[in-house]
Symmetry: C2
Amino acid sequence: MSQKRILIVGGVAGGASCAARSRRLDETAEIIMFDRGPYVSFANCGLPYYVGDVIVDESKLLVANATLFQERFNIQVCLEHNVRTIDRTAKTIEVENLKTGEIRQEAYDALVLSPGAAPIRPPLPGIDLPGIFALRTIPDSRKIRQWITDHQVKTAVVVGGGFIGLEMTENLLHRGIAVTILEQMPQVMPPLDREMVTGVHDLLRSQGVQLCLSDGVERFDPVGDGEGLQITTASGQVHRADLVILAIGVRPENQLARDAGLKIGERGGIQVNEQMQTNDPQIWAVGDAVEVQDFVTQTPIQIPLAGPANRQGRIAADAIAGRPSTFRGVQGTAVCQVFDLTIATTGASEKTLQRLEIPYHKVYLHPGHHVGYFPGAKPIDIKLLFAPDTGKILGVQAVGEEGTAKRVDVIAMALQQGGTVFDLEEAELCYAPQFGAAKDPVNFAGMIAANHLRGDAPLAQWSDPDWRSHLLLDVRDPDEFERGHVPGAVNVPLNSVRDRLATLPSDQPLYVYCQVGQRGYYATRVLRFHGFQAYNLTGGYKTYEAIEAT
Amino acid sequence: MSQKRILIVGGVAGGASCAARSRRLDETAEIIMFDRGPYVSFANCGLPYYVGDVIVDESKLLVANATLFQERFNIQVCLEHNVRTIDRTAKTIEVENLKTGEIRQEAYDALVLSPGAAPIRPPLPGIDLPGIFALRTIPDSRKIRQWITDHQVKTAVVVGGGFIGLEMTENLLHRGIAVTILEQMPQVMPPLDREMVTGVHDLLRSQGVQLCLSDGVERFDPVGDGEGLQITTASGQVHRADLVILAIGVRPENQLARDAGLKIGERGGIQVNEQMQTNDPQIWAVGDAVEVQDFVTQTPIQIPLAGPANRQGRIAADAIAGRPSTFRGVQGTAVCQVFDLTIATTGASEKTLQRLEIPYHKVYLHPGHHVGYFPGAKPIDIKLLFAPDTGKILGVQAVGEEGTAKRVDVIAMALQQGGTVFDLEEAELCYAPQFGAAKDPVNFAGMIAANHLRGDAPLAQWSDPDWRSHLLLDVRDPDEFERGHVPGAVNVPLNSVRDRLATLPSDQPLYVYCQVGQRGYYATRVLRFHGFQAYNLTGGYKTYEAIEAT
């Protein structure tokens, strides 16, 4: 067996996984991992919590270190080494030791690029002022901690309301810092659809966060002599802050690949085949820097996620070792905890399906995370997207407390297996009073969708204006109706629907709603049986309110 | 459309589901539900918590009541009505109104039997003494509550260590009552394999429970004048208690069906086809009284679970309405909370697979429920069973704290879809520091199994004595080895394996273990690459200790 020389550029998630697996597949290979920074294999997902003092011991963030790689895996790690160029013909890279300035060439048989993605720093006036930070590395978080202490930070502006932005917000609040979020879109957590996060908006505001949506930064200006920053937004608002966190998103670190003539996708990701191989057969690329296939939509996407990065690293290692493993694409399973709320999703969102013109149906539901008779049940808001013809699951979004991630994980598994809403209907999941229900929220999601597809209880959507021009029946109890209802709705409580049949028009669509959808379903069944063209407005009044709040 | 008359015997889970769905499918049918007891549709899974004062309001246990069935669903409910006989030729049942003694005949077009299962009361001397209770209904739990109050109960014996037994134990302790568990088998929670519940045994003992395994009751005797009971066991032990709970299991209520000549299975369950139809085409049966197909083993089983009972009720309603729905069988997904521990399972256990001579492989693992760098990670003990040829998932068992039910639910979904360990390897699940890891426990379970099946890192089992007669390498660090190791093991820390290759025999199997299996895997890979016949003892020292404790 000839001794292979495997060089890996970037030592976090994908790179580190690739290195370790390469060793497991080949004891004789020479494996060298280069990283620009002072650490490899650190827990970047933990950085916000280190800033927030939830993780207090910095060393906990080091999943592995250079010594461990050397001693356990016989992998050489070159920290603070910058790989400057690739000579694809000579199969060498040029590396600069950032500590000494020394520059050398290293030959490879296989080269793996895992450079990651860098936080976006838009070229705004004042962007380089002190006190403006992005969060990507341990040194970054150390600098933010230091700044908070040194400047006795009382106020912060977080630019961007995605995962990192929200996690940073919670952690800054945890340290007693008042936070303003500036988000260009009309919602936080852009992977979810807008109506699903109105509860998150409410929660943030209830926690004292100043939430400025549909507004972006125009410029940063210093205030006095080190008295903080002034942030001017596109809408003309002015905010003061001692600290600014940029959490706008990331862009693939593609310069090295681009300079070497490797193919780059439209959004900047290095293009690879399903073995994570670039257009140069000796060069592989993995992690946040690559363009991957969306498992649901089968279109190229750019999505920075740790799980897929690790998987890609292992697949590249397999490919280098001559194994036929392939990457099946990314579902986009993601989760974020914001105070007591869990926000989770897998698969495609409605806006993605709309953009790609992929046909879909959707249901909303708001079940308790466990049975109502056991104390402490909390609702989970769920939106399930599925194919109109086959019922195939396209995506799910859920916002709630306990048990939210569980439901998304179960549906993520079903989606991976090509499952349908009919499969969810039949799922046999854990039930004891503390955990779920004889009909789990996953079952309910499947049942509502299946009832729709079978034509048993066709759904209507609040987002579709049809209901506005027809008779709208509120089948809740009169006291619920009194407390608030959709303008124009007529109150026909479920239990009196049978008695009121003669008074309802049978020659036009009837739109029915209740609080969350269940009584609307019962009413729809009664009406349909008697020949009425009844539709149940999915998600009920609760979804109506969420959509109205957007 | 002719008006169908649907009679339903038994108004909990399966019966109530069937009644409600029958109405949704047919507005004109006459639907009557009979129940011997004073309530329908109550939450029997909540009863232990009502006894334990966790659920304080009895009315919470009533998911629906007779009035709701009447007003919402136009379903007549006859409470305290005992169905005595079925005349299959005349298609009538004879019903006794237990309140008035009146007996009448009721004709049916479709008859649904949902009589449930009754707690087993073995014919032991003294079994009918006051103070000995089983728990099936709201009146049962009311009587137990009353007894506790009236007799100032300080001590209880719980006979049986299954779900109900353990839930009752926790709830009695919650009320300040000292509990002794008597269990005939050498383990609690019989659906799981024995080595998986040693942690549960430890927990129960640490909570002050006197746990008597492999011992059954021989007789009950009164003590003095209402001073409690004396329980004598098969082994000759004598226990004193103010209260005895019988939680030995249940047997199908099959008398009515048996008297009517319906086919009954070997274990007493009413036999039905996949449409829940008995051998009489006008009679259906659902819930705990029927014999169902085990989804994994494809053998008939008797298993009282609320989720499947509900599904069966809906399927019977579909069948009666002429719809082709079928029951896909029961996976046996179940969960139980005992103090901080969650005990969950789906699919077949090892003992079931052994009994049925179904080939299987197994892996053990002990991952944290989330990443170790975030505070509060707790281990989950997992056992995954899978087919040796295809890697198809056969079953999983998990014991841990947070996130335990989630992993079982995810694998339950995969199992339902015919998934393999290779699918688990690839699962894309929620990851943020609070929720999981870039490699989730589900992924790890799949990877370990897949590495075994691919021959990359063949596993050995502690339960297979082979390792005892060969060289056993403990690849943990010397300090771990010092704290405890398997007798006869040689300590070769992982990082020195490469240096020690020359000292190891290459002509015989080498058995390797570490603490939980990961370092053992790395060592196995190194050794195999160099031609050694290395095997990794799955689950490591932690599983060894669990097996030794059985």
